[in-house]
Symmetry: C2
Subunit: 182 residues, 2 copies
DNA sequence: TTGTATACTTACTTACCAGTAAGTATATTT
DNA sequence: AAATATACTTACTGGTAAGTAAGTATACAA
């Protein structure tokens, strides 16, 4: 991947995570990079191509982490997963699923499909993490792993949204509540 | 409030809850009502007026429920609160805070402010509900009411988003997990 | 050295969107 | 009966957005 392509993806991802898919234009990307709007179209002919590329890049990153973290305990893996959201929070960003999911019906088909696949990949991953933690007695909770996973993912996702809206630190208390419940 | 004004608010609220604030136009409202786009501008001169009116109407509704439900037990009140989300879920809608909050930085100032006030009103309300439930032994949990309230609000909010994205029933398991944790 | 791929710029089209000014129909008030 | 308020329509402006066609500069390869 060329440098410019990566720079475009980085800027667009930031815009999606603060303003959403429908509130940015190619001008918002081309201006800070000091190129023309048509240059962005050269790399990503349609806006939906750019949107899909951002989702795919995120899915690749998660796949990479999934592999890398296999050597760690379940506890450590979950803690690392929470740290991914903490990173967004420190930059005042919403996560991709939250940013795009809330306007799901307005998204082009290719983005809807890739986003759906992404969120299901995350769910499977976390269920696996929790099930293993229960099996080797690192975790102790009464809910079904699927139920627990959904609760964790859901609360992390929206704590980022609520952090912006309430102008308070919801993430902190949600993180504490999640760890207490394991 | 006139009939048309209410009809406009209803349609716009549905559009926000499925597509987000930046993905609908006055044409999307005027067409189904069989009026001209300028007629919508007559009722709400600027789009941000319409956006703010939708938030304000929601806040009024919540204030009304807050009053009406005072006669009920804490358990019943919380159950009613969850039912508000269940209503959205059954219509495949995201809640207002989720729909607007995820693109917070793109919203006009008046909407940002009203949305922030709304979410803080909800937090105060739920903390009150939980604190009373603890005091009269209807509830039994170890977290601080503030922490618990944030977890409940956060998980409800994003279960609606994740329902759309995963095309599964996250809300159901999140609701179960919340009730189990009280 | 000629060709070809890459990474753009220039210049444009088409379309839509928010917003407005001016006029019209109808009902209500004075 | 005249004046006024309400709820629009008609007709328009200015701006911006997505997307494209054609041309240019550079590097590297045949």
């Amino acid at each position: 991947m060329s440098d410019k392509r990566i720079e475009i993806l980085d800027i667009a991802e930031g815009l999606i995570k603060t303003r959403g898919y429908n509130a940015f234009s190619y001008k918002d990307i081309s201006e800070p990079l000091k190129i023309k709007n048509a240059a962005v179209h050269y790399h990503f002919p349609k806006k939906s191509d750019l949107g899909e590329a951002i989702i795919l890049r995120s899915r690749e990153k998660l796949k990479k982490y999934n592999k890398e973290w296999r050597k760690y305990t379940s506890k450590k893996r979950l803690s690392n997963f929470i740290a991914l959201y903490e990173k967004n929070q420190s930059l005042n960003l919403v996560c991709i699923v939250g940013a795009l999911g809330s306007s799901y019906d307005s998204l082009p088909d290719n983005m809807q499909n890739s986003l759906t696949e992404m969120s299901n990949e995350i769910r499977i991953w976390i269920v696996e993490m929790l099930s293993e933690g229960i099996a080797n007695k690192e975790f102790d909770f009464s809910e079904k792993p699927e139920e627990k996973a959904d609760l964790i993912i859901a609360s992390l996702l929206s704590s980022l949204i609520l952090d912006k809206v309430t102008r308070d630190n919801i993430f902190k208390s949600v993180k504490a509540a999640i760890l207490k419940g394991l």
